[in-house]
Point group: C2
């Protein structure tokens, strides 16, 4: 009986090919098969990040997701898991390329749930889009005793408002068609002017601007807002970068 | 007049030298001077991560922090900023090595506040301890519409309880001497049994265990807890890894 292969969930970082880790590179070049999320037609962003290091000799599994709102259909994960399991059963190691970090809102989670109990798995953490966006703003994300809240803009308006009101610093992910809702919520909370918008962090077309100036948000975008609405009694928390 | 050097804030990741990015490595080897946080006596953890790639020809500035609770004294940052500024004024590029990510609870923030307006600065994001801890647990950190809250255990007990109660998934950082307080808070919220403790993530002595079994937490440790106390009406959020 063949010994089964190992499944790797590999974070390839936010987009700049140089923000891939040494470990990710070593493993991506060593495995027999790579797998990656991709749109229904066209190239995979995750694959494009490491394309310069691939030599074309590996097997490839493109996991094609329909590009429409809402969670991807279960069958996409089922089919991808079956294709990957077939390789693992044949003794091949498979690396799933994950933009950012595999376990931070990653589509890898759907594969981990299906394959995790059945094969040896290793996760290689990556530089998250959150860290890349913070770097683009050139401002500390959180310091000292601050709380960071990462909130998907996909939440219903009231739930979004509630979570943002409770944050010291909030990072809002998954903007897309939820941009107007987010703008309304931040307006309501009186913190619109503190909202910094970042798109394509770490890529050549990276842009940082005030949220008010944004009319359309691509998938790879994020808003960071130092809400600081809630303060513990007697503490004066500064909104600007700390001096200690 | 000499053109001033460039200041780099470089994330060197959670500890495994292979979790350094290609960009961090390139810049660390290219600059004239490296600077890094260190204890009052003994070696720097951030420096140790990249030590294997240093050739010993660069200038080095050790920023020595007193190892006692509370925020580091202002004068440590003042002196370090002055030493770094002297190098930058002389035209030397300086890379500040930051464990994890520079802007995620990093001591780099104190230098950025002092030098940021005066010299060209570039931030190189790194793999955070958060991503490394999630990888160690082999469990998705956040998926779909979940909110992640990162909370320092240094907060007063009631503030800590309030923030944890409002989270879907919480990562508690800066444990150290606050371990017992955190245990009390999680007990009070009835979620102790869901708390996963990780120490030395990505290092050879990495350990993952249930929080109940932990008696002493080193500085490089974290607790991840899927609190899921608050649920939007009508949604049944699963506590286990999602299947879609």
């Amino acid at each position: 009986m063949t010994q089964s292969g190992r499944l790797y969930g590999i974070g390839v970082g936010p987009g700049d090919p140089e923000l891939v880790t040494v470990k990710a590179l070593r493993l991506i070049r060593a495995v027999a098969v790579i797998a990656y999320p991709a749109p229904e037609e066209g190239p995979s962003f995750a694959r494009s990040i490491v394309a310069g290091w691939l030599d074309g000799t590996q097997g490839e599994i493109a996991i094609r997701f329909p590009m429409r709102p809402g969670p991807p259909p279960t069958r996409v994960y089922d089919r991808a898991a079956a294709a990957i399991a077939a390789e693992l059963d044949a003794g091949a190691d498979v690396a799933v390329l994950c933009q950012g970090d595999p376990l931070f809102y990653g589509s890898f989670c759907g594969l981990l749930a299906r394959l995790g109990g059945h094969y040896p798995v290793e996760i290689v953490p990556g530089v998250s889009s959150l860290a890349a966006c913070a770097a683009a703003t050139m401002t500390p994300l959180v310091t000292r005793d601050e709380t960071l809240t990462v909130v998907p803009a996909t939440l219903p308006e009231d739930a979004l408002a509630e979570r943002l009101a409770a944050a010291d610093v909030a990072a809002v992910v998954k903007l897309g068609r939820h941009l107007d809702k987010l703008k309304r919520v931040l307006q309501r909370l009186g913190v619109s002017e503190r909202a910094v918008y970042v798109e394509h962090a770490s890529l050549p077309d990276e842009r940082t601007l005030s949220l008010a100036a944004v009319e359309r948000a691509p998938y790879f975008s994020m808003v960071v807002v130092r809400t600081a609405i809630r303060r513990a009694p007697g503490t004066a928390r500064r909104a600007a970068p700390q001096t200690t």
